[in-house]
Amino acid sequence: MRWDANLSPRGMAQMHTRGKALILGLLVAVPAALAAQNSGTVQATATVLTPISENGEQDLQFGNVFPGLDKSVLVSDLASAGRFQVTGEGVSQVALSFTLPASLTSGGNALPIVFGASDAAYGPDAGTQSATFDPSAVSNQNLVGGALYVWIAGTVQPAIGQLAGNYSADVTLTVTYTGS
């Protein structure tokens, strides 16, 4: 817009009107641009509980075994049964799952082992067993104060011609939260 010192009153009125139109246009255009979009936020939240850990504390020990004579370790034999310690969150439920060997080995020699329906047990501490369970099936149990102890027993079945030696095998306990 060019200012002219000699502009006539009609010219001044025209300039005034055009100026108002420009300003009104800005009033319409700028707020529309500001209002075209808006955003809002919320939070996503979660609380993660203590991870599970398990520790093999004691081996399943059959001791001396004679060829041709089966030998069992009872799960109630706290000194000889295998024992695991499980730790986690509070009283969360966990799934206990064993991977059981079919035999112990010594070099290339195998010593058969079997597990009965009551050859596993669980309890709140290393000296207390609450109940037995079948180690061939998954067992869901609740932690007690963030811990649980699990025992495993079994029976070895040496053949009459079983060769002498030290036989061993791994027994694996897998523990997972069930979400319950």
Binding site: A35, S39, A44, A46, T47, V48
Partner: protein
């Protein structure tokens, strides 16, 4: 002229946001996405239809106007130290209802901008579910993330 300019600036400072004939476009978060207690190693899902735990946003704008809803989605919640809790969203984890009825909300993929039409009262609700997948080694503790919803008129 100077007087008109002064009036114009005063109006610009005082006026609310107007569009599409006069109704302001607003979006506000009503409820967060709450996974609650999660166990390490166990994935946890909050369905879009979980009225108590799904994220919810209210949109207010021009009656029967079409708006584009766009989410800014994080890939993880952050926790103690630098710990991260992976967060994912499925193709039906977003939902829109013109009558605040979560059960009848129309699902949509929250990864993609989605056009929705506001109802005759100009108010709609957007919902968002999701899944966390904590690895077994995830440290215990509280985890959070920010979910942002942006809405814009399409002009349709």
């Amino acid at each position: 002229m100077g007087r008109w300019l002064a009036v114009a600036f005063m109006l610009l400072l005082a006026a609310p946001a107007w569009a599409q004939g006069g109704r302001p476009l607003q979006v506000r978060g009503i409820q967060g996405l709450t996974f609650g207690t999660v166990l390490a190693g166990v994935p946890w899902v909050v369905p879009r239809t979980d009225v108590a735990n799904t994220a919810q946003f209210e949109i207010r704008g021009e009656r029967q106007a079409e708006v584009l809803v766009t989410f800014l989605l994080p890939v993880a919640l952050t926790g103690p130290g630098t710990a991260a809790l992976p967060l994912s969203f499925g193709p039906a984890d977003g939902g829109y209802s013109p009558d605040d009825n979560i059960a009848r909300a129309s699902p949509f993929d929250p990864h993609v901008p989605n056009p929705v039409v506001l109802p005759t009262n100009g108010r709609g609700t957007v919902y968002l579910g999701g899944t966390v997948s904590p690895p077994p080694s995830t440290p215990a503790g509280a985890y959070t993330a920010t979910l942002t919803l942006t809405v814009a008129y399409t002009g349709n």
